[in-house]
Symmetry: C2
Subunit: 340 residues, 2 copies
DNA sequence: CTTGCATTGAGGTGCGCACCTCAGTTATTC
DNA sequence: GAATAACTGAGGTGCGCACCTCAATGCAAG
């Protein structure tokens, strides 16, 4: 039979009360008592029954995803995954919800974060660009013992905040490798399209991409990043113009998570099936475009996995446990038509 | 406050005892009572507290992975992942272990399965080739209420047994696509190497591979599968011979999970860096070979994810819960040097 | 030696549910 | 209408732990 706290008390030669004090870091324990309890834990292999802990604490968890407000298809996937997880976690005393915040407004984000009380929320998964204000607001959250996970964004690691997401330099390099191999040694230009190059993610992807191309496919000429600023009209204007001015474009790399807008704009001028096209994130659009060969490969990070991982990490931190690192690494997926 | 069973009894206008009978499928409940309880569950949104259930039942789970005995590097990864999970699940009243069985001996496997008692084991994750004997033994396990998961193998779905693993037809097609694209339109032969073509997995991968090549890259000539039978000496003999007799081989597809033996044998005769090489499964060897360009791409299924998924499914089935399908789908990963 | 404080033990309560017993009630059957 | 079977409720116990109170000890400083 698995040893209980009572067995532990006996083995350590102390009372249940002292065992309880040691296990839960309560005050008024002599070093000697603490040592003998910890030694006994090792000796008899005591492990707290998490079900009993959960029941006795009768504590519930409330986690919030703070996400950008956007029409982005990938974000819609994320919202959907959060809603699914919310339903699935209802049983586990874990409340999950999300809010949408205008992403450009660092001040607004910081203000929102400041307004979060630890009476209300135990953890926040934050998807927002870095800025001094946000960084400061995060530090305040941590002070209030609200766990923070940097979610899919923000590579400049804050100390004491976990990160869930991929290495965007590697993701960009992967895209570069695929474009290099798929263009089969042809010379020509590569069009690179982003929503914005302000964010750390975009910068890192571009950097990884350029590094790979320069190193292994130097005969490919990568054009400066075109920024759509999530503006469909702007994209519809600028992208065909660039295509007109560069008739030797043989590949397109869309490095932001919204692939639909730029690729629809490009399709107005060229047949995407004749170009090598690599985009990011699995969405209804990229899936369909892989299906009919408009896109050759998609670099993706599974939103469902990301959301679950963030919650697992916040739970672990709330329980003062260490999350299981191997499980929480988000893979850089390469999606082809064949392995959807 | 979250409603408890007591609240539920009140809402349904019955006693706690009747609520208990309904919740746990005990006999002696009138249809009327059952209906009013179920209706009240919906109405007040009652959800059992899983921690309390677990504590009251005070039940532990014992799951066993039945794996082939082999020196295969991928299997070693699997063993390692099982051991890791074993340690991680100790806290959760869940015992996990594994045994190794000679894979060719269907009779021995069946005999082993027959010897498993439900007093001893709650669930089995079985990685074994199909055979009537095994199929029968699995049916007996299920009769004894031992949950069975077909693990990474055995695509002919048994009814009532879950499957954890990838679609091997799609995995083969993905390999075909990568070889087709990476060879860049060159004509030539493709060498296909397997440990054995007896297993359903190999057959399906080969089928998916051929289908893709024929459909999209018909100028590539795929040679018949070379079978190594896990025999290093045999591989060292036969593979160089085939390479000598087919000087126009431009690509190699290793479709079994052991890539080291065949590729080391091939490297004795050709420089793998000059060929397009696609293999399966991430192992120390394939990782290293991706790193120095001996392998161009690896098709993989994450062993850690697979092991965790199998255990989650067995737990869910033991609790008569439905597993969360979206979480349990194993992805066909495409690994390049860049996204390791 | 006394005061004060840190430490310890004994004991109780409750978390939400599963599982059990037993007496009592309501349908069914002949 | 009586015997039988099917149902129902009241109540208790225990799962392993967190959290609380209170009395009793130890130990140090003054």
């Amino acid at each position: 039979m698995r040893p209980t706290a009572k067995d532990l008390a006996e083995a350590a030669g102390v009372s249940l009360a002292t065992v309880d004090r040691v296990l839960n870091d309560r005050p008024n324990v002599s070093k000697k008592a603490a040592r003998s309890v910890n030694e006994a834990i090792e000796r008899i292999g005591f492990i707290r029954n998490p079900a009993a802990v959960s029941l006795a604490r009768n504590k519930s968890y409330r986690f919030r995803f703070v996400l950008p407000r956007s029409g982005d298809l990938y974000l819609r996937e994320l919202f959907q995954r959060v809603r699914e997880l919310k339903a699935a976690l209802k049983a586990d005393l874990t409340e999950v919800d999300y809010v949408q915040i205008p992403i450009d407004d660092a001040h607004g984000i910081a203000k929102y974060l400041r307004g979060i009380h630890d009476k209300e929320i135990d953890g926040v998964a934050l998807m927002a660009p870095e800025s001094p204000q946000v960084r400061d607001a995060v530090a305040r959250l941590l002070e209030r013992n609200i766990k923070v996970v940097q979610f899919l964004s923000g590579q400049e690691k804050l100390p004491a905040a976990d990160f869930v997401g991929v290495d965007n330099f590697a993701a960009g390099a992967t895209a570069g490798k695929l474009i290099g191999r798929f263009t089969c040694g042809a010379t020509g230009k590569v069009m690179v399209i982003a929503e914005t190059m302000q964010s750390m993610d975009s910068i890192q992807r571009r950097h990884g991409f350029d590094t790979k191309i320069n190193e292994q496919f130097p005969y490919l000429q990568c054009l400066p990043s075109i920024e759509t600023h999530a503006d469909e009209a702007r994209a519809g204007q600028i992208i065909p113009r660039v295509l007109d001015n560069n008739r030797d474009i043989i590949a397109i790399y869309v490095l932001s998570s919204e692939a639909r807008v730029p690729l629809v704009a490009a399709a107005a001028r060229v047949d995407l099936a004749n170009l090598v096209v690599v985009a990011h994130e699995r969405t209804p659009f990229t899936e369909a475009a892989l299906g009919d060969n408009r896109i050759d490969a998609v670099i993706a990070q599974d939103p469902g996995h990301a959301v679950r991982s963030a919650v697992r990490i916040m739970r672990a931190r709330s329980d003062a446990r260490e999350p299981l690192a191997a499980q929480e690494r988000i893979r850089i997926e390469v999606l082809l038509k064949e392995n959807l």
